[in-house]
Symmetry: C2
Subunit: 350 residues, 2 copies
Amino acid sequence: MPRKKEKDPTIADVARAAGVAGMTVSRVLNGGKYVSADVDKRVRSAIVRLGYHPNEAARVLRGQAPRTIGLIVPNLADPFFSVCAHAAQQMAMQQGYATLLLACEADLNEEDRALALLRSRNAATGVLIFPSRLDSAQQLKDMQARGVPVVTLDRTIPGLDAGEVMVENAEGALKAVNHLIMHGHKRIVCVGYDSQFNSISQRMDGYRRAMADAGLKPQMLIAENGAEVPKIVLKRLRAGDVPTALFSLNNVTTTQVLHLLQRENLRVPDQIAVVGFDDFDLGELLAVPLTAVRQPAAELGRSGTRLLLEMIRMGSTGMEGTGARIVLPTELIVRRSCGCVAPPRIAGTK
Amino acid sequence: MPRKKEKDPTIADVARAAGVAGMTVSRVLNGGKYVSADVDKRVRSAIVRLGYHPNEAARVLRGQAPRTIGLIVPNLADPFFSVCAHAAQQMAMQQGYATLLLACEADLNEEDRALALLRSRNAATGVLIFPSRLDSAQQLKDMQARGVPVVTLDRTIPGLDAGEVMVENAEGALKAVNHLIMHGHKRIVCVGYDSQFNSISQRMDGYRRAMADAGLKPQMLIAENGAEVPKIVLKRLRAGDVPTALFSLNNVTTTQVLHLLQRENLRVPDQIAVVGFDDFDLGELLAVPLTAVRQPAAELGRSGTRLLLEMIRMGSTGMEGTGARIVLPTELIVRRSCGCVAPPRIAGTK
DNA sequence: CTGAAAGCGCTTACAG
DNA sequence: CTGAAAGCGCTTACAG
């Protein structure tokens, strides 16, 4: 049975082993400049021999920025977020940064707690966040004021001057709704929730624009939250003037809608066509292969990390009006739920 | 424009504001014992007034265990892992622990790097890991030797005495294959990859047992990795003695198989039945609703964190032969791909 | 119940 | 090119 704790070698141990002063070891560890080749070699070999690793806590206490970013995600169980998070984390690790993950459920107060935890520990050099509360602005501004850059992902916080990575929401929605219009639909209802996020409202704008351009009347169905979607859709279906097509604002809504239509025995797309914003891995394998707007989820994560690390390097907090803004393209993946028969793939999708 | 960095108040600032010594502030911060009510109040109000937060780095340097666990996941883009990770992180945060996330792709060396990062930073008080390399044993033993408990999730590392959370793999597979046998299938092929993991080999055992009990000949189809699955299945389908049913060992395999069968225009379940280990959120909405063994993914994550935190509290590293072992039940969700017509739900599923 | 002081492991002016 | 020493913000014996 091994001992409970084995003490780590310190710089002093290495110094002793190499026959130099601690400060010289530190020099080798960092730049390595102004050190004679001979000493450098002796120190390095001692480091290896003793299995020395610098103590992060001491470094941070001394004022070094921890090579750690905070990643705040509403719900890691949602594939859109988890794909982003995975890509973001990968990119960070590649650059030598660790990722402190904070998943904070829809539950209203958890984002605050997550932010507070990050703040109080002083643990992150930068923050990557899918904001799920628009009123987190103050907490984030505090972080920025302490020199911690912030990048918002997929959504933006009003009044917060931060780095941003968005997706072409309006354009994607426009393409989707135009496609439905092209199929001859006139009563197209737009359904979703979370319209307080600008990602969602941008999609709504795209929908409205497409409808207006075609001289059609927009009809919004906005639920309180994902769980309420079936209820309001069902009510709408039972009212007169039944829609012939649905445009769904995100993946949760799409799933709910599909389940509902299946329960109600409504044939898609014959009785009602469906196009969603957000694609599924299994889109192709669904009872009715889903036509959907695909977002570059992984690229969103990667771009976010890249932008954040750049801001860290530049010493920019994102609050000096320079806030870089990245907008990623979306793509309409045409399958069957829109009414198309042979699935004609758009662009070079495999 | 706010200043770049605002300095944080320290214990000394609080002490001054409260008119006491630093040590007293520290006492209030920790236990709070042996402090007069009056002083306690003065100190607390000063803390609030100044917005004081203890400096984690200093605490850690002083020898306190960081309230942080490391979570090592092969691929966060896989819903099984992301659901676990989410639940694990939630549970950790609830207990005041932060989660350092390390997602390390199938890419062979990343798990090593992830572990090295954790080790070198001394950043985690405990490690939760879905091992993706069986040879990480040494690194993990090192961590244990330094007093950091380890809990393995979903799989086990040979020769490592750690906390473990597993799932009833053999039992689940047995139920699944028995169900196919009940449908009259005789040529049931078991397909998958990653058979070096005991989770997978336990599923294979369950399959073999079911086949043996029915006097049937087991037939294994084990690919190098997920991407190779379609190739070997296709080859098998084109050989003589075509299987009438497939038992798939995990979700990636199931997806691949389903795509392949669709491309080949093989009707499920008429021409070939399919049952998978691992359920999908969208299982119900698939062209052929999938019959699958459901694993309690979220519970796996939660149990893992719970066990790990307990080990941390007990000062157990898991290497003293005490290593707690939790095994979670699985459930067969019967839908249509097995050949059942009206979907008779097993047990109390909604 | 309260405090003065040492020390955790680093880095960094400051000298030489 | 190299080193002695201070100090980052805490906690902890040790006194009183």
